[in-house]
Symmetry: C2
DNA sequence: TTGGAATGTCAACGAGGCTGACTTATCCTC
DNA sequence: GAGGATAAGTCAGCCTCGTTGACATTCCAA
């Protein structure tokens, strides 16, 4: 419980009405957040699911299918459909692990990297505009609230991937 | 207050890496944000779409289908399926408009209000915890960034619904 | 008074979640 | 080196919730 120092705001920021506003802000903002990439994806007949996979593969080249599964929080059957399409379209390559040959390490191809860049440029541009409009202090608050809103295991994954040790590199080069 | 003290941060908060972190935070937080209601909905074989409709009907009793369509940003055919189910389950009532008989004005029934309350309690509880953990200043920043991230028309809707004039009341009582 | 605009409904399709059952390949332990 | 555990992939089938297309009803303005 916040004490007197923070005054009126401290009393207001947890009212049901304020919380409802926060909930709706989350809903509307998420729509905006996905709108730009969705347009690009539609041109190539891909969906949001493909974007998510591309994003994480781009962020962590060489990550395994199993790890991607954890990050995305879907079933392997569901991911498999997405991944198969990405490989077919020549956007992602799956390489047999060198240490553990059961694993498949995922990398973007040139084309995959290009698409991922286009998607993430669009999304970053919107995020950048929002960050710029709101200012550094607001950005700090934004992230604090979002992190507090995650499920604990997700937060762990989120933080853990920040500065991760090198993964298995490409072999076929 | 951000002055010289925040120096480095001000330079950092727009780097690609920072933006990527923001993007992922958004993704993971949205998962957390919907997790609790999803569990409750699953028990009654309802989905997220039903939750969204219930939310807006609860917030603005008597709103028309057309207006709800704007808020949700889906096709009327898609909304119709959801609404039909809600009416069948006795959670929502649709009343023919008195002034314009083409319109349908939506209200929650007792049961609908109870379910909506359960859902929104769960979601508010998580939001409250996040707000409390992050503090009032962070909440302010959180909302600033989210609002800046919305599409302009959505932001207009978001702000406009804040304090709206009375809508058509229930007739069949 | 009639034709266009607004509103709402029905039907059918597709993406992408899900469960369940299973195979294959590989690893690791005893 | 046999046998269980683990990583990945597959097939089948289901459900939700998006989509488009066609159509009915109601209102209002020419």
């Amino acid at each position: 419980m916040p004490d007197r120092a923070t005054g009126g705001q401290a009393l207001l920021f947890l009212t049901d009405e304020q919380l409802r506003r926060g909930i709706e802000a989350m809903f509307f903002a998420y729509r905006g957040f996905t709108a730009d990439p969705d347009r690009i994806l539609a041109e190539r007949d891909l969906g949001r699911a493909h974007h998510r996979a591309l994003h994480f593969v781009a962020r962590s080249p060489g990550l395994t299918v199993g790890r991607l599964l954890l990050l995305l929080g879907v079933t392997k059957q569901s991911l498999n459909r997405v991944l198969r399409r990405l490989v077919q379209d020549g956007l992602v390559e799956a390489q047999v692990g060198r240490e553990d040959r059961r694993e498949r390490h995922l990398h973007l191809t040139e084309a995959g990297a290009a698409l991922e860049r286009a998607l993430s440029d669009a999304q970053r541009e919107r995020m950048r505009a929002a960050f710029r409009a709101a200012g550094p202090a607001a950005v700090q608050g934004f992230r604090q609230v979002l992190e507090a809103m995650m499920d604990p295991e997700l937060r762990r994954l989120f933080e853990e991937e920040r500065d991760r040790p090198a993964r298995e590199g490409r072999t076929g080069r």
